[in-house]
Subunit: 322 residues, 2 copies
Amino acid sequence: MAVAPRKPKGSDKGSGTAHVITADLVAVLVAVTDGEPKIMTIAKADALPSGPFEFKHRSLQTGLRAWVEAQTGHPLGYVEQLYTFADRGRTGDAKSPHTISISYLGLTREDQVGAGFEAHWSGWYDYFPWEDHRAGAPALIAKWLTPRLRAWAKSAPLAGLQRERWQRAAITFGLDEREWNEELVLQRYELLYEAALIPEAARDGGAAATLVPGRAMTGDHRRILATGIARLRAKIKYRPVVFELMPTEFTLLQLQRSVEALAGRLVHKQNFRRLMEQQQLVEETGAIAADTVGRPAKLFRFRHAVLAERAIAGTKLPLSRT
Amino acid sequence: MAVAPRKPKGSDKGSGTAHVITADLVAVLVAVTDGEPKIMTIAKADALPSGPFEFKHRSLQTGLRAWVEAQTGHPLGYVEQLYTFADRGRTGDAKSPHTISISYLGLTREDQVGAGFEAHWSGWYDYFPWEDHRAGAPALIAKWLTPRLRAWAKSAPLAGLQRERWQRAAITFGLDEREWNEELVLQRYELLYEAALIPEAARDGGAAATLVPGRAMTGDHRRILATGIARLRAKIKYRPVVFELMPTEFTLLQLQRSVEALAGRLVHKQNFRRLMEQQQLVEETGAIAADTVGRPAKLFRFRHAVLAERAIAGTKLPLSRT
DNA sequence: TGGCTTATACTTAGCCTGAGCATAATCGAA
DNA sequence: TTCGATTATGCTCAGGCTAAGTATAAGCCA
């Protein structure tokens, strides 16, 4: 069965029809204000900005920018592609069976949403209350999630599967003395979906979901949001992207608070400053922050030069230099 | 201008038509044999396995698996999504202006390609000869690329732009005393495209490209391959994915050679072993490799348990444990 | 002035990493 | 049989980075 290079020439079992589909562009647009991570939402905070990829759009990003600006009045700055989703049965209403969602992560500063737009900045922990560990592990994990996850694990038919399920839960949620890993946002969401502990699972025809703290969204938007948060939490560790979320001038504490807001956990203050300085990511502006509580802090700005100077790449292999 | 949550209800400037498109699924299927990285190709090594996403496919991955098996007879093992491309003018022939390509990276072991399939395993450095630095920087970089990149930089209209271009070239290709960064595969490819040094640029209507060492591919397949190589080079550093490419039992040197093949650079032998052992990624099988040249080596196997034990995530921030 | 808050400097121990030295096995040719 | 080539494997050492903690400075306000 020799097959033509790219397109099946009407041959093959694939029907000769064009197999056309529609593509939705979805944006996870993030900002941090006063140490709280926010995402841009529409439809009464039930959905992410999104719209179909249309003929007039020159590229996917162009289309995305157009939709976000049309729906929120907010221009899009830094943008990167997240993931392309297409599973049927994960979109809530039985829409066109072949719509794929191409999602993007965008970073900006929070601006007031212009009048006439149905858009809001919503705190991202409203949708993922179990993800905020800045004040320690949230109580709802021990009180609410753990027993239900244990029940879910126990409900598996085989002992092996039971153990497997519990291990997965323990790893993703940091149970049984394990460490919390803030990057596993998507895995946690997917686990809750599988365990039918969130409304999306019930909606998609699974068992009835117990009502869980944390707001749901239209379609698979909360899954996309989880993907975005996970990506951002991973990325702040090896790329200077936080600065996209900061005003031009900021104190080191403000910067730290932003990182903590995204990571969902606290950072060692002194070491954080040392890191910023020795990596030369920031430089003093010479000015001093006013209206502060304690000792006034120096103001810093991002050293854009680093982007040109370095082509940073983490190495975890003993690569030889010779 | 209030906008409806997800779909513009026929309102808005977007036309009321359905904006249907077609989606191609493209696979970068990698194997390593005898220390050489290979990719599965079809069409006389000119294209990657690919085919349209069809109604009958339950998900994108399902569709991809179906196409790869149909075209190459090779089953797909480990798979992860790479990127979704849609730029017009980058696909060679002016195909349907709205085809998007959803690309995946797959890892397997090289099997003989079944008879009757137009599929081959091709060395990936045939397509990217400048990427193999295992025997030092390839001569073609100094002799061939550097002068042309310098010329390209010089050809910019403004002095500032000239400097910018050269800096980009120097960073991506490790010129001017800079270190070679093996992860910048895509950036290098895109730079060569922009500088019109590869056939794809000429084909897409740019200036006539000087013939460059390195084989081109159909459409934007070489770009997709570059994306795959880059992803894999990054990933082997923080996830134990190399093992997907290894036979069940292997010596540490074989493992090292595979890593080097992918990374395109050499690794410090003793440190590599130390890393493998202290991370407990492998365990001895008890057997000893036969038919070797020097002192016989112990055989190892991958410790699958690590996948369950750890939820590894690199940390480059001073996250507090308290 | 003392207490509160935040900023900033410095120290220390442990771990990881790059790099190199030394020794062990095995084979084949001199 | 010995030497040389080749690969395997063990070990050391210095430098750098990291987590964590101590100490001090500089404001505000009661």
